[in-house]
């Protein structure tokens, strides 16, 4: 029976409660001075890895990973405060990395660090791509279970229930594999103050893109970013009859 050597990639994104604004030049969303946090789906990934250990699954270690600006270290510390053992940060200040590049980077990390289970969020709430986990599984040639709402590990076999259109389906695969988390998987814990203090002492290794020698040329060119056309509320009606007649007027009934 092999132990679980888990990799949890996390991404620093604009906090989910913040309403993003498009910048004046229409080239991107304004990020300066905006509150950032860990991508909510990645919190679920860390939580699940930690719960596996708490459920006495043979977890050898949990490595949290992030590629991005120096500030991403905050969320790696959060991941460690939640229970990850150590962290790896690939510092990249300038470029926004595309899912394919991240997947290639993660493939190297998986190989370097001898991982056998990668748990990612199903999508990041900034670019909403929903690709990285599947791409990584493809590059590694591993089994994948996306949008997991339940994960059970028994020996080196993983049984995963996943959210699909219209319900759930259950899959089983032997390690190594890639799992991506859906919202229903768990309820992430808050990092306690003592754990936040302890996390400051856990190892955080910094590397650069050059250390990995991957061609990170962007494949997609941003032509423009725009605000969606504003939707004007049509005002309120007094009662149910008013609602019905307005709906008829709008041709919805």
């Amino acid at each position: 029976m092999s132990g679980l050597r888990i990799l949890v990639p996390v991404k620093r994104v604009i906090d989910y409660a913040v309403k993003p604004r498009v910048n004046k030049a229409q080239t991107a969303v304004e990020t300066t001075g905006v509150k950032h946090s860990m991508n909510p789906f990645d919190e679920l990934s860390i939580e699940e890895a930690v719960r596996m250990r708490e459920r006495k699954a043979p977890v050898e270690d949990i490595l949290a990973f992030s590629a991005g600006p120096t500030k991403s270290q905050d969320i790696l510390r959060t991941a460690m405060a939640m229970g990850a053992d150590r962290a790896l940060h690939i510092v990249e200040e300038k470029t926004e990395l595309e899912p394919l590049s991240v997947a290639k980077l993660l493939k190297k990390v998986v190989e370097d660090e001898n991982r056998n289970l990668v748990i990612l969020g199903k999508q990041s709430i900034d670019d909403d791509a929903n690709q990285t986990g599947q791409m990584l599984a493809g590059l590694l040639g591993w089994a994948q279970a996306t949008q997991a709402s339940k994960v059970e590990v028994e020996g080196d076999t993983c049984t995963v229930t996943r959210e699909v259109d219209g319900g759930v389906e259950t899959l089983r695969a032997k390690l190594p594999m890639v799992i991506t988390t859906d919202l229903r998987l768990n309820e992430p814990r808050y990092a306690s103050l003592p754990n936040i203090m302890k996390a400051k002492k856990k190892p955080l290794v910094k590397k650069t893109m050059e250390d990995y020698g991957i061609d990170l040329t962007k494949r997609l060119k941003t032509v423009k970013v725009m605000e969606p056309p504003p939707r004007q509320g049509g005002g309120k009606v007094e009662d149910v009859d008013g609602m019905i007649s307005k709906l008829k007027e709008l041709g919805a009934l």
Binding site: V29, L100, I125, Q134, G138, G166, E227, R231, K236, L253
Partner: protein, 349 residues
């Protein structure tokens, strides 16, 4: 015969040294449209073609060029023949093999890659459904291209429009990758006619890749109501319904009175009022019905992401300051436990 000749022409045209470049912009566009060829990945389930997956065909029609459908599974020839009647399709490729029935990406991705390479397609489109989301990034990675997810519009053969940040920004991206692997938002490309086409049906290549994943079981919510993602009308309930009992008492009669599908906010789903598969929003389903009528939903941005393209939005909420009223065409401030049953009664008349 004709298609074989066209394939050759296509291959030649792609290597600039073999053919002089056409310079006039207009004739170049015409020439370009002739050279575009899209593989539209279609979904099937137990021998039934999934009509919502035809959004891939509608999107390809908007792009121009030839369109080939693709289906795989056991005894899938009948599905291929059904798909051959879909307007816009020139050819349907099918691969008859039971190992593709569950759409597991571990073997379905290599299958697609083989057929994409063989057909020399310039574009590969699939719906941004659970199947498409699971499969297509794996295909893109194997082809070493950066996929473009959940597009809502096509500007040109290499430029696509998609929502980001839960629909709070609209991104236009351009790609030089080939082929261009794209998933399309079903509500943005309503499927056209499933009749009237006369595509040829052809067997595809089957690389028979190993699948390390075993499919165990599924549990699908059964419903006689219209499918949430494609329904003309949707009624949706939120936390304001207070309990599963109340949700089940209040919402289904309203849905029946309208012939609508039922949706729910994340709060309602998390509290166990409604099934997960009913969730509308950034992490649930995107809907764009003629009428979206919601009760007891405040209108968080994650929810709005999934429904703000609805033609008409109506909201009932007791909080006059709820953000839902900023987007609703018709708002009614009041107690949903009174107003919804009243509305249901009056609609029945």
């Amino acid at each position: 015969m004709f298609s074989a000749a066209r394939q050759t022409a296509l291959r030649q045209a792609r290597s600039p040294c073999l053919r002089p470049r056409v310079t006039s912009p207009l004739s170049r566009d015409v020439a370009l449209a002739r050279l575009l060829s899209t593989l539209a990945v279609l979904e099937q389930r137990e021998g039934e073609l999934n009509m919502s997956s035809l959004a891939a065909v509608s999107a390809a029609m908007k792009l121009g060029g030839s369109i080939t459908g693709f289906v795989a599974g056991s005894n899938v020839k009948a599905v291929a023949e059904e798909a051959a009647k879909v307007e816009g399709l020139e050819k349907v490729i099918y691969v008859d093999n039971a190992s593709y029935d569950k759409g597991l990406p571990e073997n379905f991705a290599p299958l697609l890659v083989e057929n994409i390479k063989k057909g020399g397609f310039t574009h590969v489109f699939a719906g941004h459904s659970a199947f498409g989301k699971n499969l297509m990034p794996r295909v893109a990675a194997l082809l070493d291209v950066q996929q473009i997810s959940d597009i809502t519009n096509i500007e040109s053969e290499d430029t696509f429009v998609r929502p980001i940040y839960a629909g709070n920004a609209i991104l236009t991206v351009q790609t030089d990758d080939s082929p261009k692997v794209v998933t399309v938002r079903g509500t943005a490309f309503p499927s056209g006619a499933a009749e009237g086409g006369s595509a040829s049906v052809e067997e595809g290549v089957d690389p028979k890749a190993e699948c390390p994943t075993e499919w165990i079981s599924e549990d699908l919510a059964t419903s006689d109501r219209p499918d949430l993602a494609t329904a003309e009308k949707v009624v949706s309930g939120g936390r304001g319904l207070k309990s599963k009992e109340e949700f089940d008492r209040i919402m289904p009669p309203l849905a029946d009175a309208l012939g609508a599908a039922i949706g729910a906010s994340r709060a309602a789903v998390d509290s166990g009022f409604a099934d997960n598969s009913l969730q509308v929003g950034q992490t649930g389903k995107n809907v764009a019905p003629q009428l979206y009528l919601c009760a007891g939903i405040s209108g968080a941005i994650q929810h709005l992401a999934g429904m703000k393209d609805s033609k008409v939005i109506a909201a009932i909420n007791k909080d006059a300051d709820a953000p839902i009223f900023q987007v609703a065409d018709v708002g009614l401030v009041g107690d949903l436990f009174e107003k919804v049953p009243e509305l249901t009664e009056k609609l029945k008349q």
